[in-house]
Amino acid sequence: MSDILIKGADLVGKGRSDVLISGGRVAETGSITAASLKGTGAEVVDADGLVLLPGLVDLHTHLREPGREDAETVRSGTRAAAKGGYTAVCAMANSYPVADTAGVVEQVAALGRAAGYADVQPIGAVSVGLGGERLAEIGAMAHSAAAVSMFSDDGHCVSDARLMRRALEYVKTFDGLIAQHAEEPRLTEGAQMNEGTVSAELGLPGWPSVAEESIIARDVLLAEYTGARIHFCHISTRRSVDIIREAKARGVAVTAEVCPHHLLLTDEAARSYDPVFKVNPPLRREADVLALRAALAEGVVDAVATDHAPHAPQDKDCEWAAARPGMLGLETALSISVLALGGPEDVDWDVVAERTSRTPARIARLEGHGHDPIAGAPANFTLVDPARSWTVVPAELASLSRNTPYAGMELPVTIQATFLRGRATVLEGKLVEETTV
């Protein structure tokens, strides 16, 4: 692996600098002339006008492997991740078989290493088969080669208060984290979209915001009572923000993520009855979008997470009620985060780095990620062109699936390069094809 010299990048908060990467780590920053590297064979990457971010970290990715390799594989999903600027993704547990044993999480982690496009950190299931009844072998997963620290029944709320309490207590033994999909299941039976003016008109059964908020309120209290850490997946409502803000003020160990689509789209999109806009939790109202944007800027919401959910064409090319929920997110997340945090002109790149890389890396305990380019740091970085916008063309995405809700939209900022432990996975906006570990 040759050395890489990144010339003239804007280091967030530290001004313009060169960065020399050697042996997978940052060797040197400051002003480094190419001449001084004569003979070392370093590859020079011109980063004039580009922003160098710590590599993005996604707390919430569905890679679909094992089980639904027609929709996505670990390889295709991590290629999409790299193209979107990610160097690490947390793979959700709802594969087939479910990631509820050490064997499955080790397999997923190994597939990630073999593909080589991004580090894959498996998330383990809280309960056996995501069934919500018995605890999965959480300790075995934690102590496996995959070193799982985050557990979630994502897609299924851990609605049983007693099971949730036990899970919160149990993961304290190794400082683990429960990531809750907050959805009171009795309030959302048959639900198809946000409950509101639009659902009333469209005749689609509503998913009331209180179904999310009531679980968040309960689990904040359980975390406080047990002294455990809790993380909330994809929060989507204004009142959820309020509850989390209040809990943080009281010192509860709570973190929360928001998805790009909840920062941009509203339930008005459902009027098309096009299931590409069907997602769980559903697209909410404008007031929720604005509250989530403010909370992300403020830090009440800790991280942007994609909930990247690839689906095969037949699972979306149908009537709304028959469609599976979820949308692609990895390749569009940074653009939308920048948009939600003020747009490419006004955005504070330090906040972007915090919410898309440093904080999610801390939450997921990914020690090799979320580091700024200082000497000795692991070289996981993303180079962003803040001035170049792009148009989303589904057929050009690296994901195997095409269910992006942003087709045809022009989005700000492009990923020019991604570096995983000092090796380029993306250069000049294109995936590097010959990558091997």
Partner: protein, 306 residues
Amino acid sequence: MKHLLTTKELTRDEAELILELTGQMADAVSGREVPKLPTLRGRTVVNLFYEDSTRTRTSFETAAKRLSADVVNFSAKTSSVSKGESLRDTALTLQAMGADAVVIRHPAAGAPQRLTQWLDGAVLNAGDGTHAHPTQALLDAYTMKQRLGGIEGRTVAVVGDIVHSRVARSNVWLLSKLGAKVRLVGPPTLLPANLEEWPVEVAYDLDSSLSDADAVMMLRVQRERMNDAFFPTANEYARLYGLDERRLALMPDHAIVMHPGPMNRGMEIAAAVADSPRATITEQVANGVWVRMAVLYLLLTNGETA
């Protein structure tokens, strides 16, 4: 007009044109020895029904046949939208067979709108989930026009299970567009949440909602709803929201009682009320054929060959 998917998307002019054509269809056919017009000869109308509804399907079939169209009944017997052939594949099949119009009844809201993306022919919504049932609302409006002399300024109370009713939704948009005052009456459990932006009044008490009503439209309430805590028992529902003779007496003398059928006698409507001369239930059925003729004619000819 290319399709008829909802009454919300109709302009007032379009709605009035349909109602006017409805009258013309009734007059034209009623005078004939053979009750048939040659207008749609050689055109194919497919009835694509994913829910059992002999009433509505028969009404559409009769309407199409009276316009001399060829009618194909494509009965998609499946209780679940996730089973069997996909809607898209069925649409492509109908497209390949050359359907000029597809009349669709489907349990999933929005299915007719999806169909328009896969078919060149006209799509006519015969009821989709709890979303819309535009021809039912049009036949209701036509019936009111006949019985009340007009719709503008009239007060219509729609009573019962609003949240699960595509008939109620289609009536709200059409009647308010035509200048009527619409009042939705039912327990809060059977009203949609977030009605603030709808052009309606909302009332929880039936007795006090009747004295100024020109028409009272009773909706079918499924007894099984009580198992899901929408109301405690069928008896309590009938007591609070059923239209019986005592309540009929609270209505103005000229006011009519409507029901889209099929009725639960003794539940939302007492037998004596259903059979009273003030009930328009069988007229609604008869008018349904004229309305569906008018809509098929409009969609398939663009009103060119009157």
